[in-house]
């Protein structure tokens, strides 16, 4: 196992896609120390920015102890192995990852798990905006794997989701699940406005209250339970909405009935 400790507080963004179990594998601590990273517009070596220690423990493969808020692209494209960050993580954590596990014992920054294909990301704090969403303009959303966030997520989370599961135990910001076509998003508490805008497929489940519902969704039924994944079923009852009709969508939006009494006078008459 390699333990990385930031030597100082970084003033500029550090681009460190080399912090990746696939890259570290088979390399000695000395070789790892000379891996290239960018700090702002300066090219540096990993050892210039981090204290690098090797410990005999097998897992996790990489541990970062300390604040890594400015350290971007950790675990980008990783295929296997495990990274633990004891502190806050930077932007693009686990972007396009295809396997393995990342645990953050702190908060994660924007674009965590962006376009990921497989693997598991656990965040024991809050995640910022664009969780699992692709790069601006791109439609290549998350395709598989799982992201679990214990805290809240910001805006535009799970955009263009094409597969996999996102579980949020706190609240979600606006534009959750924009344009999703497949996969599942579960929010244990409230969700912001424009929920599921332009969705064409997939499932969004909100157990808490919703700010508003877009007029392009139509109520279809009430369901008692919804399966999120093999291990977890969300308890309802839920209104089942279909949409987004503006996109001829066939997505399902589950919104808790007891947490949203304001919806009852509008939608109950159509059931």
């Amino acid at each position: 196992m390699i333990v990385l400790t930031p030597l100082r507080k970084f003033q500029f963004p550090v681009h460190a896609e080399c912090i990746n179990p696939d890259v570290f594998q088979g390399k000695s601590a000395k070789e790892i120390a000379s891996l290239p990273v960018w700090e702002g517009n300066k090219k540096k070596k990993l050892a210039d920015l981090f204290k690098i220690e090797e410990t005999p423990a097998e897992t996790p493969d990489i541990t970062i102890n300390g604040d890594a808020t400015e350290v971007r692209r950790v675990g980008q494209g990783m295929k296997q192995g495990e990274i633990v960050i004891n502190g806050n993580a930077g932007m693009h954590l686990g972007e396009k990852m295809a396997g393995g596990k990342i645990t953050v014992n702190g908060n994660a920054n924007g674009w965590t798990g962006s376009s990921m294909k497989n693997g598991l990301i656990e965040i024991h704090g809050d995640a910022s905006d664009y969780l699992a969403s692709p790069y601006r303009g791109s439609t290549a959303g998350m395709r598989g794997g799982k992201i679990v966030v214990d805290g809240n997520v910001g805006s535009d989370s799970g955009c263009y989701l094409r597969g996999g599961v996102i579980m949020v135990k706190g609240n979600a910001g606006p534009f959750l699940g924009f344009h999703i076509s497949k996969g599942v998003i579960y929010v244990a508490q409230s969700a912001g406005n424009r929920l599921g805008a332009s969705m064409t497929g997939g499932k969004i489940v909100v157990s808490g209250s919703v700010d508003e519902l877009m007029p392009t969704f139509t109520v279809n039924a009430v369901k008692k339970k919804v399966k999120i994944d093999d291990t977890f079923k969300a308890e309802g009852p839920f209104y089942v909405f279909l949409g987004d009709l503006a996109e001829h969508g066939n997505g399902k939006l589950f919104v808790s009935q007891p947490s949203n009494p304001q919806l009852s006078p509008i939608y109950d008459k159509y059931l």
Binding site: Y135, G137, T139
Partner: protein, 564 residues
Amino acid sequence: MTELLIKNGFVFDPLNGINGEKMDIAIKDGKIVASVSDQNAKKIDATGLTVMPGAVDVHTHIAGGEVNTGRMIRPEDHVKDVVRKTAITRSGTGYSIPSTFVTGYRYSKMGYTTVMNPSMAPLGAKHTHEELNDIPLLDKATFPLLGDWWFVLENLQKGDLEGCARHVAWIMETTKGYAIKIVNPGGLESWGFGRNVHSIDDVVPNFDITPREIVCGLAKVNKMLNLPHTIHLHTNNLGIPGNYVTTLETMKALESVPNDGKPICHITHVQFSSFAGDNWGNMKSAAEEISRYINNHNHMTFDMGQIIFTDTTTMTADGPFEFTLYQLSGHKWVNSDVETETSGGIIPMHYKRKSAVNATQWSIGLELALLVKDPWKIFMTTDHPNAGPFFAYPKIIAWLTSKKARMATLAKCHKKAQKKSLLPSINRELSLYELAIMTRAGQSKALGLKGKGHLGVGADADVAIYNINPETLDITQKYKTARKAFDSAAYTIKDGKIVVKDGEVVQNVDGRTMWLDVKTREQLKVDEEMKRKFKEYWTVEYENYPVFDHYVKVPEAITVKADV
């Protein structure tokens, strides 16, 4: 006084009938000359290399409102292709819609020296010229969209060809344009009302005129004005299964225009106009029907619009067609320029081998290029970026010159498309001479560019030298080597200056912007009526409409004497 001598290369110069002869090319002050003094001239040893005139692109969207809107809606396109600055070149981005500087560098790297921007809304002319100014290393020109320009429609409706001709002459000067571009004639005006035209005899709303009358009328006007290029036409019903019937009808309609055995119309990206079948499920190639017509008639020229399997961006003034694409793909799209002159649409598109439709389209382009016997009639383009980015040209060269190359790609395509493709039955492999016609000489001839596309005395000293020895390299077998050679030219020479060496830009020079100064006997008077129309219907005042001379960084006015 700069002198340059390219020694001992295999020269391919079809306009002068030179087919692979070993000879020297002498250059003095940016022009080709008969000889230079041996001591003073800088020498390039081209022994074992292929020397061709600088390549010419007849149709590539590199500047203007649509191109820039395309850049804006596709950040994901740029992030995968970031170009760093060097001591000589500036930074920029690709991929399918490169930034202006990168456009110049990448074209030049492939040996291109002249490109034509084929679609400019007259309203956006100033912007287009500002972008063209920023594209280095290339000579360029731009074609104003006139097929649905109100003054053209009004004059043709009245049957006043001379009036129409005067307006066209005026707009060439006003927008610093080079040729008449027609996109989906009548369809763009209809699109302003949410409609389209579906045959060449549909009537355009509010204008009691048909696409047939627009195309034939403008072809006659083009002739009256003696413009160097023909009309440049994007046909009706483009990109719709079964549209080859419309394409044939358009070509037949143009037979009625007197032609003296010379081309009077250029149909661009003909691949998109050659679909048979009646829906996307049974869509197939109409290359046989179209090429049979082309082989039997001489009044038309064409370019391929070859599909490249990659992620690209489609952009055309054909708004209704882009809307159809949007409905098919559900991708993000933009509609622009829907006022008085044209329309426009932009939508990202990923052409895939495993899509039966895309693979058939890929096959159609190559079938057309190979089935048309005369290379002076059909030219190599991708309609950049609509069917693919221009820097994929070396791939097309490989497919055209090597059956092995195209069969290797076909083998990876959708099974249904493989079964329908005519490519296995076509054995033709283009020679370097024919390739030189399709990539420079033919294009230059069709465009009426006197100093381009050949290496005769007096021509502009635009030369491309490729690392191909026709005596030892069999490009039909070693197509990957040939592809690499055409991808990075050994030398590109622009106006007598070496701008690219071994695929790297070594010098930065500005290219010229060519435009037509058409001298009519009686000049158009911009009267109160015209100004009133600008005030009422256009989004700019008449006073802000013209492109003033100082907008064009390095202008080259070509004076044309008209018959009216």
